[in-house]
Subunit: 345 residues, 2 copies
Amino acid sequence: MTDTAPRPTLEAVAARAGVSRATVSRVVNGGDGVRDILVERVRKAVEELGYVPNQAARSLVTRRHDAIAVVVAEPETRVFADPFFALQLRGISKELTAHDNQLVLLLTEGRDDHARVGRYLAGGHVDGALVFSLHLDDPLPELIQRAGVPTVFGGRPGWSGDRRDVVYVDSDNRGGARDAVRHLAGLGRTRIAHITGALDQTSAVDRLDGYRDVMADADPRLIAEADFTPAGGERAMRELLGRCPDVDAVFAANDLTASGALRVLREAGRRVPDDVAVVGFDDMLPLAEQTDPPLTTVRQDIEEMGRLMARLLLRGLDRGTPREGAGDTRSGVVLPTTLVRRASA
Amino acid sequence: MTDTAPRPTLEAVAARAGVSRATVSRVVNGGDGVRDILVERVRKAVEELGYVPNQAARSLVTRRHDAIAVVVAEPETRVFADPFFALQLRGISKELTAHDNQLVLLLTEGRDDHARVGRYLAGGHVDGALVFSLHLDDPLPELIQRAGVPTVFGGRPGWSGDRRDVVYVDSDNRGGARDAVRHLAGLGRTRIAHITGALDQTSAVDRLDGYRDVMADADPRLIAEADFTPAGGERAMRELLGRCPDVDAVFAANDLTASGALRVLREAGRRVPDDVAVVGFDDMLPLAEQTDPPLTTVRQDIEEMGRLMARLLLRGLDRGTPREGAGDTRSGVVLPTTLVRRASA
């Protein structure tokens, strides 16, 4: 519990990974323009050394409870309906169990209950918190900061830059989206649509940005807003078919959305991929293999994200990294994505 | 927090429900032979009066955390894969939220982690615990008793009778099973099989007992053991077709199991219900409506069970019912079941 070993530095990570300090900084801060192979090497070095970016883990409470709260900023109905959360929790659960820490999942009916979550976190019942699925206008980050518990976020937080000590784990949403859209363009598609996720979440914004990186001059009617759910994907696909009947490809913000879009395309008599090619995001199994046709998608390692969140938090706690002087930059570990080709595109 | 209002008595419940004291006692203790309409009336009176059977809620801790732990005695993978738990948690979550209590779900990788759950419960982080899916040889009840937190169990605990203060909420598993098997017999079926649940759980044992109540002289080869999962249902159905090819009906211990059995029957070219009639248990939606053919099943109100567990616990806490002198009988509220007819039987 005391700080005996020196805390690994950015320089140590750079040396271990065999890359420059600037490259480590770029990877750790989620920036673009680093090759996948280097990202992977940096990530390994971060893990092996137990590097915690930016003094993020906060001062130790005097007593450890060996319990970590997990807060999913969604109603419990959503938590149980979307397999994304189950996968992330699986990674977290494995890692916490391996360190004999209790996973304490704080469920709510909705955002109105987040103040109560803040009270529980402030009550000294857990050593730290893992928080994911934050929405832009959610009061949770403020409440968590007031509660004073060390926290690692899942996904890049979207609030503006006046908060300190923000550590997060994310996937390369923007790069993955670019890969998806480039793949569709490479198939000769020219009317490539995008069905967005919930745009009050950075993952959805980043995927939209990745789409725009490639489709800078795209017809704006090719973008339809949805919310990461199958029903949202259905609605958006109907809209798209209505206003752009010549659409020949769709990049959907996640696999659940893509599954809804596929249903609507089938009902409308459009063949996939012949008439309309479809790419999803997540590589959620078994869903992505069981859609008709099986889904080409951007794979992110959701379970690993959960595991890494837990690992960063526990290491920060073990080290008792002080909170003071942490500066106000946020820092994250960004995991690479991979395009997985199946029949839909 | 103090005990100002007199605690409602069994007599008060009997008066309110317009039934005899013996009837209330039978309902509350899960006994048989009470008509559904009376069970329902007693249940209403229990709720309206806030009757807590048998001094079960324990002594108040000095400080309330407004937080209730929920422990599902299954690995987290199972908790997220089986919709039964999501439904029960939904009922619990709604009730706790309505009382501004935080739902604290303690997830584990498996039974080896239950000692840690016991430590968390003993650590003074929650006011009480709701525990379900207990297995016969699980150390949890012992750990919970040592932790000293007021607890309500989901499902009749199966351990032998030396423990005090056991309050539980259950469905009428045995009565529901009898209804299912009688329905199959009423269709003229004579070779009625049973695919059991996990027999280290009382719900599975009670449903098997209900089957035996009706099929006292049944060929023992008509009973195949499974574990409440679709894969278990598939295996058991294959066994049954192998050793009793003349089977003409199946009562499956839950809908998930029934869905597995239906798949195997279809593969084997048996028509449902013409060749083999199938009845499930739970009325899990949308599953029970989406099987091929849609499933005749025994409905239990899983969400209501969760809600009632939470309500009993919170009322016990508000009342601060003393633990002393509680005697050693267990007491439960047993909810009625209903047969729901669809196409499979």
